[in-house]
């Protein structure tokens, strides 16, 4: 079996050497390119599992390259894109999110973190189709309502159903805890609820509710007295809607 191919788009030679060193025992075929045209040529030549790319490059920037790719694909949809840059400001992250970026890693990063990201990308590639961020907002509404049994659960219908039941048993307690925390202004509890629910809801395929839980986690961490209670109310409605739909569904 051929080694997974990783294309690194980076013009800074010491950083390229460091990445090469970090990945040398991971059984990957690392191709280093110093600019956009070279990387596009190599990505077209042989599809890669992962593209690790800087944003500040000679000639065309990484952002411009991703914008062009979003408009008309320049490489295979199965290639995960990881932006590895010192320029990942919040504003830049907002620009990148809709452009199909799988992960963003700020420089400087430890070798361990870089290796963990690459391992995740290779694992994702083995598991199936690309899950770049771009895929999420374009999902049809029906897909969002569908249990995530064919992807995050590896297609195991029993596990999906059993986990769904367990969550339905826990959600009323979450609602109770969240109501008490919102009344008392307990941001620690609200943050923990957001943190825990974002994963549970994501696993169940409720991506919108998961995103709201993640936003609650951030707002509560910032002790945002306006946003956190409002986000809790939204998340509370998500949970009660899920419980109501389940109660109304015909029994099997």
């Amino acid at each position: 079996m051929s080694r997974p191919r990783i294309v690194l788009m980076e013009d800074d030679a010491p950083i390229s050497s460091l990445v090469s060193f970090a990945l040398e025992d991971m059984g990957v075929d690392l191709v280093i390119c110093a600019n956009v045209p070279e990387a596009v040529a190599r990505l077209k030549e042989t599809p890669a599992a992962l593209l690790i790319m800087d944003l500040m490059l000679p000639g065309e920037s990484g952002l411009s390259f991703l914008q062009r790719h979003a408009a008309a694909p320049l490489f295979a949809a199965t290639t995960r894109v990881m932006v590895f840059s010192a320029g990942l400001t919040q504003a830049m992250r907002r620009h990148l999110e809709p452009l199909g970026v799988w992960r963003m890693l700020a420089k400087p990063a430890s070798i361990l973190t870089l290796r963990a990201c690459v391992e995740d990308a290779l694992q994702d590639a083995r598991e199936g189709p690309t899950r770049n961020l771009r895929a999420e907002p374009t999902q049809p509404a029906s897909a969002k309502a569908r249990p995530a049994g064919n992807d995050l659960f590896g297609g195991n219908a029993w596990l999906v159903a059993a986990y769904s039941d367990a969550c339905l048993g826990q959600f009323p307690h979450d609602v109770e805890d969240g109501d008490a925390a919102a009344t008392q202004g307990d941001f620690v509890v609200l943050r923990a609820l957001g943190h825990n629910l974002k994963t549970a809801l994501k696993l169940l395929g409720h991506d919108g509710a998961s995103a709201r839980a993640a936003a609650l986690e951030v707002a509560a961490a910032q002790r945002n007295t306006a946003a956190a209670p409002a986000l809790w109310r939204g998340l509370r409605k998500d949970l009660t809607d899920i419980l109501r739909r389940h109660a109304e569904a015909p029994a099997h």
Binding site: D120, L152, A166, N196, K198
Partner: protein, 169 residues
């Protein structure tokens, strides 16, 4: 519920960590070597405060490891003590925990004789930038995003428990 850092909270966590470490060392010393590895069912300790993830891990173990004993601790301090008491064959540890966090917990475990990285699985819902402050503690360990647990936990656990079998053979 998960605790989050402030100077006061961090100091308290460290202090609590020392107390827990001392209790752990005393427990290890008090236990005769012959009793450390009795013939028994494999034992897994999950240190996680989220009931949703506790449920998920419980289901995965029931499906894939029916003969394995699953024990749970909902905060870092009791997790450390349970680890000393139970001598689990594999540990599954969350990073954000009430009491000492997963990073301090693992750092404490590393100081214990017989520490074996291969029996430890770290899991997290943190995204990469938020994970950065904790990675110092996880060198050489498997760190699994929680959304990947349904497909990744069982293979990792099988490997950890296989190492246990090899160590005892």
């Amino acid at each position: 519920m998960t605790s989050f850092s402030s100077n006061e909270a961090a100091t308290k966590r460290l202090f609590t960590s020392f107390e827990a470490e001392r209790a752990l060392a005393e427990l290890l010393q008090a236990r005769p070597p012959a009793l450390r590895a009795p013939a028994r069912a494999p034992r897994v300790l999950l240190i996680e405060d989220s009931p949703h993830i506790q449920n998920l891990v419980r289901l995965l173990l029931a499906r894939d490891f029916p003969g394995v004993e699953l024990h749970m601790a909902s905060d870092g301090d009791s997790g450390l003590l349970e680890c000393a008491r139970l001598q689990p064959d594999a540990l599954i540890v969350d990073i954000l925990l009430p009491g000492i966090d997963g990073a301090l917990l693992v750092a404490s475990l590393r100081t214990q004789p017989g520490f074996n990285a291969e029996r430890l699985i770290i899991m997290t819902s943190l995204d990469t930038p938020d994970l950065e402050p904790y990675v110092w503690a996880f060198d050489g360990l498997q760190v699994v995003p929680k959304r990947q647990l349904p497909v990744r936990l069982s293979p990792l656990l099988a490997r950890a428990l296989r190492r246990r079998g090899e160590a005892r053979a």
